[in-house]
C-alpha cells in the first residue's frame, strides 16, 4: 500500500528536481550580448542580445522584416509579431533584440524572439 506520506514525498522530490532543471534551462538559454560585427558563422544557432538602430522595417503577412544597424547591418525577422513589436520596430528607432542567429540564403539573419526599446 502506498501511503499519502510517500506520495507527498515523491511530489516534493519532483518539485526539487524540477527547480534544478529550471536552473539548468535558464543557464542553457541565457543569451549573450553582442554587436552585429561580432556575429559570424560561429554564432549560428546561438541566442544573442543585440542593441541597434532600425534601418528599415516592413510587415508581410504574419512576419515582420527589419534591418538592424550599429555600424554593421544584419537582417532580422519576427514571426507573429505583436502590436507592441510593430510599434517598437520603426525606422530610426533604437531597439534591443533578443534572438537566434541563423543562416538564410547564404547570409546571417537574426530570428527575433523578444523586442524591447533601448533605454
Amino acid at each position: 500500500m502506498l501511503r499519502e506520506y510517500w506520495l507527498n514525498r515523491i511530489a516534493l522530490a519532483c518539485g526539487v528536481i524540477g527547480a534544478v532543471l529550471l536552473f539548468y534551462y535558464a543557464w542553457l538559454a541565457a543569451p549573450s550580448t553582442a554587436t552585429i560585427g561580432q556575429l559570424d558563422k560561429g554564432a549560428l544557432d546561438k541566442k544573442v542580445i543585440v542593441q541597434a538602430r532600425v534601418d528599415s522595417a516592413f510587415a508581410k503577412g504574419q512576419t515582420l522584416f527589419f534591418t538592424l544597424d550599429d555600424g554593421n547591418k544584419i537582417k532580422a525577422v519576427k514571426m507573429s509579431p505583436s502590436a507592441m513589436d510593430k510599434f517598437f520596430v520603426q525606422k530610426n528607432a533604437f531597439v534591443v533584440v533578443t534572438g537566434k542567429v541563423q543562416e538564410y540564403e547564404g547570409a546571417l539573419e537574426l530570428v527575433a524572439e523578444k523586442i524591447e526599446p533601448a533605454e
Binding site: E4, L7, L28
Partner: protein
C-alpha cells in the same frame, strides 16, 4: 530566473482556479492573453504549461466531490462518485492524483523515446482509430446481459450519438472545444447523476480523510496503461482523455474502479506533457496548451528542459494542493445536507451552461440528461453515453 519561477507559480495558482471552477478551462484564460497580443514570451509559455498540468490534477475535485465534470476527465466522475457515496471520496481523489503524478513522471522519463517515434505513430495510428472505435461501440452493446438491456443499451448509444453529431458537427461553435462539449457532458454524466441522487435520497457516508493508503499495484497498472493511452491521445486529433480511458478499459477487460481512476488521472497529465513533446518533435499541436505555447514562443530544442522542469514543479504543487483542497471540501461537505448540495450544484451547472452556451446549450443539457437517466433507470452502463464523442470522432476520421 526569478521572473520565470514567479510565472510558474502564477500558472500553478491559475491552474487551481481553472481546475476548481466548472466551465473555466485553461483555454478560456489563454484566449484573454492572446487577445492582448502577447507573444515572444517564454515566461508566459511556462505559466500556461504550469496551469495546464495543475488543472489536470485539481479537475478531479469538482469531478468527484461535487459531480461537476470538465471536458477532459469527465469519465472519472462515475467511478469517483461511487467511491464518494461509500465514504471513500478521499481515496478516489488520491487514486486520481497518484495517477496524474506517476503518469506525468512516466511521460517525462519517456521523452526521448516518444519524440523519436512521433512521426511513425502519426502515420500509423489515425488509420486504425475508426475501426477501433466502431469495435468498442459494438462491444458496449454486447457487454450488457439480456435482450432488454442490450436493446436499451443500443438505444442509449444511438441517442447519444445523435446528440454528439448534432452538437459537435452541426451546433453552435462546432468542433471539439471545451465549451461546446460542456452542455452534453454535464447532461449525460452530471445532471443525470444529480437528479438520480436527489430522487433516490442518496446520502454520503462519513468521509475518511485522514491517513489514506492507496493500493500500489493498482497505481502501477493504471499509470502504465495511462501513459500508453496518453501517448496516443497526444497525437490523435479528436480523441480525448476520457475516450482513451474508455477504449483502454474495453480493450484490457476487467479494470477495477481504483485502477480506472488512476488510469484517467495518468492520461490527463501525461497527455499534456506528451503534447508538448509532439510540438517540439513534429510542430503539431494537439492540446490547447501546446497551441498557446506555439503562439507565445518559437519552439526550440532546449525548451524540452523548460517543459520538463515546469511540469515537475507544477506536478509537485498540484499534488500537494489537490490533497489539501480535497480534505478541506470533504470535511466541509459532511456538515451539509447532501440532497441540498446536489440541488445547489445542479442549479450552478445549469447557470454555467446557460452562461457559456445559452438556451441552446441548456436544451442540449436537458436532452442529454434524459438520455443519461434512461441508462440509470434501465440499469445499463452510463458510459454508453460516450457514443456522443465516439461517433463524431469516427465520422471525422472517415472524412480525413
Amino acid at each position: 530566473m526569478i521572473e520565470l519561477l514567479l510565472f510558474v507559480f502564477l500558472g500553478c495558482v491559475l491552474g487551481v482556479f481553472t481546475g476548481l471552477t466548472p466551465g473555466i478551462h485553461s483555454n478560456t484564460v489563454s484566449f484573454l492573453v492572446l487577445a492582448f497580443g502577447f507573444s515572444g514570451s517564454i515566461e508566459l509559455a511556462a505559466m500556461f504549461v504550469a496551469m495546464g498540468v495543475t488543472q489536470s490534477f485539481v479537475d478531479f475535485i469538482p469531478n468527484i466531490i461535487f459531480g461537476a465534470p470538465d471536458s477532459e476527465s469527465f469519465i472519472g466522475m462515475l467511478p469517483g462518485h461511487r467511491l464518494l457515496v461509500k465514504g471513500e471520496g478521499m481515496k478516489a481523489v488520491g487514486l486520481a492524483t497518484a495517477g496524474c503524478l506517476f503518469g506525468g513522471i512516466g511521460a517525462i522519463l519517456l521523452a526521448g523515446t516518444f519524440m523519436n517515434f512521433v512521426s511513425g505513430i502519426l502515420f500509423f495510428l489515425p488509420k486504425i482509430i475508426p475501426a477501433a472505435l466502431a469495435l468498442v461501440l459494438f462491444s458496449m452493446v454486447l457487454s450488457e446481459k439480456g435482450t432488454r438491456k442490450k436493446a436499451f443499451s443500443a438505444l442509449v448509444i444511438s441517442l447519444s450519438a445523435l446528440v454528439g453529431v448534432a452538437v459537435l458537427t452541426l451546433g453552435q461553435g462546432g468542433g471539439n472545444t471545451g465549451n461546446s462539449l460542456m452542455a452534453p457532458i454535464t447532461g449525460f454524466f452530471a445532471i443525470s447523476t444529480l437528479v438520480y441522487s436527489i430522487c433516490s435520497g442518496t446520502s454520503l457516508k462519513r468521509q475518511e480523510v485522514k491517513k489514506i493508503s492507496l493500493p500500489g499495484k493498482k497505481i502501477m497498472v493504471g499509470s502504465l496503461l495511462g501513459i500508453a493511452g496518453a501517448s496516443a491521445v497526444s497525437i490523435l486529433p479528436g480523441v480525448g482523455a476520457s475516450e482513451a480511458a474508455f477504449i483502454i478499459r474495453k480493450a484490457v477487460g476487467k479494470i477495477g474502479t481504483g485502477t480506472y481512476l488512476v488510469l484517467i488521472g495518468a492520461i490527463s497529465t501525461a497527455n499534456i506533457i506528451f503534447s508538448l513533446f509532439v510540438l517540439l518533435a513534429a510542430g503539431k499541436t494537439r492540446t490547447g496548451i501546446a497551441a498557446i505555447v506555439k503562439v507565445l514562443a518559437v519552439p526550440q530544442p532546449e525548451m524540452l528542459w523548460l517543459f520538463i522542469s515546469v511540469s515537475l514543479i507544477a506536478m509537485a504543487f498540484a499534488a500537494l494542493a489537490t490533497f489539501a483542497l480535497a480534505k478541506f471540501f470533504l470535511e466541509k461537505i459532511r456538515f451539509l445536507p447532501y440532497g441540498k448540495v446536489n440541488v445547489a450544484v445542479l442549479l450552478f451547472l445549469a447557470l454555467v451552461v446557460l452562461a457559456f452556451n445559452g438556451f441552446y446549450g441548456l436544451a442540449v443539457m436537458g436532452v442529454s440528461a434524459c438520455i443519461g437517466l434512461i441508462a440509470v433507470t434501465e440499469k445499463v452502463k452510463r458510459s454508453h453515453c460516450m457514443a456522443f464523442l465516439m461517433v463524431p470522432t469516427i465520422l471525422i476520421y472517415l472524412a480525413m
